[in-house]
Amino acid sequence: MNKYTEDDLREELKTKEYEYGFYTDIESETFPVGLNEEIVRAISKKKEEPEWMTEWRLEAFRIWQKMEEPEWANVTYKKPDFQAISYYSAPNSKPKYNSLDEVDPELLDTFKKLGISLDEQKKLAGVAMDVVVDSVSVATTFKKTLSEKGIIFCSISEALQEHPELVKQYIGTVVPKTDNFYAALNSAVFSDGSFCYIPKGVKCPMELSTYFRINQAGTGQFERTLVIADEGSYVSYLEGCTAPSRDENQLHAAVVELIALDDAEIKYSTVQNWYPGNAKGEGGVFNFVTKRGICHTNSKISWTQVETGSAVTWKYPSCILKGDHSVGEFYSIAVTNNYQQADTGTKMIHLGKNTKSTIISKGISAGKSQNSYRGLVQVNSRAENARNFSQCDSLLMGNDCGAHTFPYIEARNKTAQIEHEATTSKIGEDQIFYCNQRGIDTEKAIALIVNGFSKEVLNKLPMEFAVEAQKLLEISLEGSVG
């Protein structure tokens, strides 16, 4: 067998094309390009939204117009032309199906390629899927089981029709319209997304899962997710994404809001594998996401993410630890290759007493990519006994990539205990040598080390997802993960 060296791996990484680059030809209904109040109204009308929602969107649009695109992130890219994007696109095949057989076979094929075939999923350990293809839900399974428990899991447009009071009460409370440029844009034009409500004391019996896909040429995807866990409830929510190969840059500006009321727990896991652009750095998805959760007394929010895709990622899943004894967690693996750029991290805002937060971030950069961790830990003066532990490790493969850490730590309470540590290293020659000595070839050794490096985070993923996450790591760093 030929000796497999790190150089080979690097070569392979360079030439590895995006495996999931295909495009489903489903006839779509698409709005004209451009953005103005008319478009915002039209989106709202299309979704048959109540009057207050239309006003809410318009207000967000007006705020957005006055805002400027943020430039502080450690990424460079050609700014998208917001007037050259079509803000609504929905698959044509309506109305909704009662069974999978009715679903567009081509679409089913797409899912099969992604390895998430619905039939399989249906049979497998109770994963309910709210499949989002280009902004509109086309199939929802296991709804019955959920509704028996009183759990509401539907698209946000459906929620606006059927549970407007819940949406009205919570939307925009964690990520206000004024929060940032992309959040404002999303608030104005979001087309669809998921809504989830777990009633008091209910433990959701299955992992809730949504697969987002960007499918239509030139359409940005503006998802809006709202998860509410009422007192004493528990939910584990899975979000995974793949997108077809495209030459022009696609924009994705999602907003995710989590609300954990007293004693509730939300576990939110993401696997993101959008098209990262080709080996020359052309194309690829721009991923500008605002994710934030609010924790009330005794509650817990846990973010886990595996980021392997997108040309530019700009994402900071955050926790506001408002209630006493609340807990926030953030586990992340970010892999960048070729010309990918990732600026990701978290914010932990400690407001309540005895609040705890943990941050584990693993960055792997290869090719000519740039990988940054940017995080904020803030302990306010009333947050007695706040505790934080942060660890940011970076692994560099090759000499053209960069790894950066920008942690911000602000403490205003004397009882705060904060620890932060960061390391940057490469796979050591001695580590490889050690493995070789014991009869493990270099390829396997690299796999072993990368796997070990990410294990801490992979372990946090739900079983069903961990398999897929490893598969995505494989694609991003082919040859290095066994």
Partner: protein, 437 residues
């Protein structure tokens, strides 16, 4: 009139006052232009996010102190490390005091910047070294524009300077508010070794703003130990900009001891230009009241096989604010870099604030870089242990705090200075313990 406008309009007058040398003149004019464009930094700038100069800038500073009060050695003896023989370069309100100083031209130059800038024999050195490593930071530009007086130290090859050098700036409160802009240039040639202690001291309660720039060049195998003692009174503010350029195999350490002052900003920049360089940055900060201390460090690793060590300890009480912004930059060429950064803080009061931002920016793959940062409070078990052994609470606290900061002191090579710092720490912690025993 705002300070910025005042400074710009006094530039002409300043230029007329000093000898106009066309070389330095050009640098000054360019610098004032740069300052005019940028103005004083605001909180909108990332590196000034946690430090606002507004409160400090509101005074009506006199840019050229008119009268200079004479000082007797016995009045200010306590600010010197007086129990050992040292070279001294002393300034009173920005003017050189030959009476208090002890300089030399014997085999090396330990003298004045004003002489170096105006005398032809220094011309070649000034052209090669002056203002070569300052960044285009607006405060550094402002200093460059008004650069005239300060310490000039040039140690030639193969020379071990047997006595430490003390650079002390006194302000006597001759006017209600004074702005000082000392400019230092330190060049250490091959195989030479020098120790320098720098101090700024205001003698009255009148406001003082010092905007200091120090350029340090360590050539091949040069060794420089630089100690900054910052224990000024509550009305004095200091913006210290230090730039260090290191050639191969040189060792430079900078220790910053910050106990006093209203607002202190330390911009400490290390540039490594050669292999096997060692850079050390250490600091102890113990402040209270409404004091504000901001350490802003940069270590730029440009060449392979170099090391850097950073260790900053901070103890913050009352309404004090501490900022640490440490950046380690590793270029693609700088393989086998070993960079370490640690920032530990104790928060003693709920009104005190710590903002820390340790950054790593790494472009080379074969490196060992790590940083650690902690914020915490005294260990209750340790306190209990000491109390059960009959040590009163205050002393027990002080002991623990002293132990916390102690490893920074270990690398101080001048014993008398170490003792002095120990005393300052004891004072600051409000106890009477012979820590150096």
């Amino acid at each position: 009139m705002k300070l910025k406008e005042k400074l710009i309009s006094s530039f002409m007058a300043f230029e007329n006052q000093v000898d106009i040398d066309s070389f330095v003149h050009d640098i000054r004019s360019e610098a004032i232009k740069s300052f005019e464009e940028k103005g004083f930094p605001s909180k909108k700038e990332e590196s000034w996010k946690y430090t606002s100069l507004n409160k400090v800038l509101k005074h009506n500073y006199s840019v050229f102190p008119k009268q200079v009060n004479a000082l007797e050695y016995r009045e200010v003896k306590r600010y010197f490390i007086h129990d050992i023989d040292t070279y001294k370069i002393v300034f009173i309100d920005g003017k050189y005091s030959s009476h208090l100083s002890d300089t030399t031209h014997d085999g090396m130059d330990i003298c004045l910047m004003s002489a170096a800038l105006s005398k032809p024999k220094y011309r070649i050195i000034i052209e090669n070294y002056f203002n070569k490593i300052t960044t285009d930071d607006s405060l550094a530009s402002l200093n460059t524009a008004f650069s005239h007086e300060g310490a000039y130290i040039h140690i030639p090859k193969n020379k071990l300077v047997e006595k430490p050098i003390q650079i002390i700036h006194f302000s006597t409160g001759s006017e209600s508010a004074v702005m000082l802009q000392p400019r230092n240039l330190i060049i250490v040639d091959e195989n030479s070794h020098v120790q320098i202690i720098e101090r700024h001291q205001s003698l009255t309660e009148n406001a003082v703003l010092t905007n200091s720039v120090t350029e340090i060049y360590a050539n091949k195998r040069g060794i420089i130990d630089y100690y900054k003692v910052q224990n000024d009174n509550q009305d004095a503010s200091l913006i210290d900009n230090t730039y260090i350029n290191q050639k191969q195999e040189s060792h430079v350490s900078v220790h910053t001891f910050t106990f006093g002052g209203k607002l202190i900003r330390n911009n400490l920049n290390f540039f490594q230009n050669g292999e096997r360089i060692d850079s050390t940055l250490k600091g102890i900060t113990i402040i209270g009241d409404k004091q504000h201390v901001d350490h802003n460090t940069l270590v730029h690793h440009r060449t392979p096989n170099c090391e850097s060590h950073q260790d900053y300890k901070g103890i913050f009480g009352d309404n004090a604010t501490g900022v640490f912004n440490g950046k380690v930059l590793v270029d693609r060429e700088a393989q086998k870099t070993n960079a370490y950064q640690s920032n530990n803080n104790l928060l003693l009061n709920d009104k005190a604030t710590i903002n820390t931002k340790p950054q790593l920016e790494i472009f080379a793959d074969d490196v060992k870089c790590s940083h650690g940062c902690t914020i915490g409070q005294l260990d209750e078990n340790a306190m209990f242990y000491l109390r059960t052994r009959g040590i009163p609470e205050k002393e027990a606290k002080a002991l623990l705090m002293y132990a916390f900061a102690n490893n920074v002191l270990e690398s101080v090579k001048i014993n008398e200075l170490k003792q002095r710092i120990n005393k300052l720490i004891a004072n600051k912690l409000g106890v009477n313990i012979g820590f150096d025993l």
